[in-house]
Amino acid sequence: MRTAIVERPIDAAVLLAEVANARHGATVLFTGTVRDVNDGEPVTGLDYSAYGAMAERELRTIVEEALLRWPGSDVIVEHRIGALELGDISVAIATAHPHRAQAFEAARYVIEELKKRAPIWKREHYVTGRTEWVNAAGGAARVAQP
């Protein structure tokens, strides 16, 4: 297993090669990429920031949970931070297991938990020039009430 928060482009092929093993009959690769629209508003790019130390710790915890739930699997996760362009890979998860069901399930578990728990934030840049931090619900942040 390996987890990392990185500030360079993610090479998904490297992750795949890393989990490849003759014991594993199945490998699954998930990549998340920067999408060109959010809630109907065109996006030109975005930047990710993280609470680095806690994000690393949380990613490790999530992967350790996956390894306990699907024994015999291997999991590699990289999440990129900094400025990303449309189509860039923001997150890659490679899982491997002797059998495909467990490899798929482990990959799904890791991305869903990462999205819920990893202290990473994304600011979208729109065609209009406006930027906005995106929250978990997908909506814009609200103004705090006095």
């Binding site: 991305i111 728990r117 990893a118 990473i120 931090w133 619900a137 942040a141």
Partner: protein
């Protein structure tokens, strides 16, 4: 006691920095930290009820904080 609170994303923007020092009474809890920081961000564009982490773990409202803890405000995350 003085507690250093790390800020990220919308909270860092709203308060103009990546940390804030709070003067809190001994025995203060996570809920007190959140109340003080959200008060500082009043009127700014931030999520109203962020989570709080203590020593890099999500903390419950009644967890006590001390001056030596690493405390952080965690607005809704959006990784992936």
């Amino acid at each position: 006691m003085t507690v250093r609170v790390l800020l990220f994303a919308s909270y860092a923007d709203a308060l103009g920095g990546t940390e804030v020092l709070l003067d809190l009474p001994a025995g203060a809890r996570v809920a007190d930290v959140r109340a003080r920081v959200t008060a500082l961000a009043r009127g700014k564009r931030v999520p109203e009820r962020p989570l709080v982490a203590v020593n890099q773990r999500y903390a419950s409202d009644d967890q006590a904080v001390t001056a030596s803890d690493e405390v952080a405000i965690i607005p809704p995350v959006a990784g992936g």
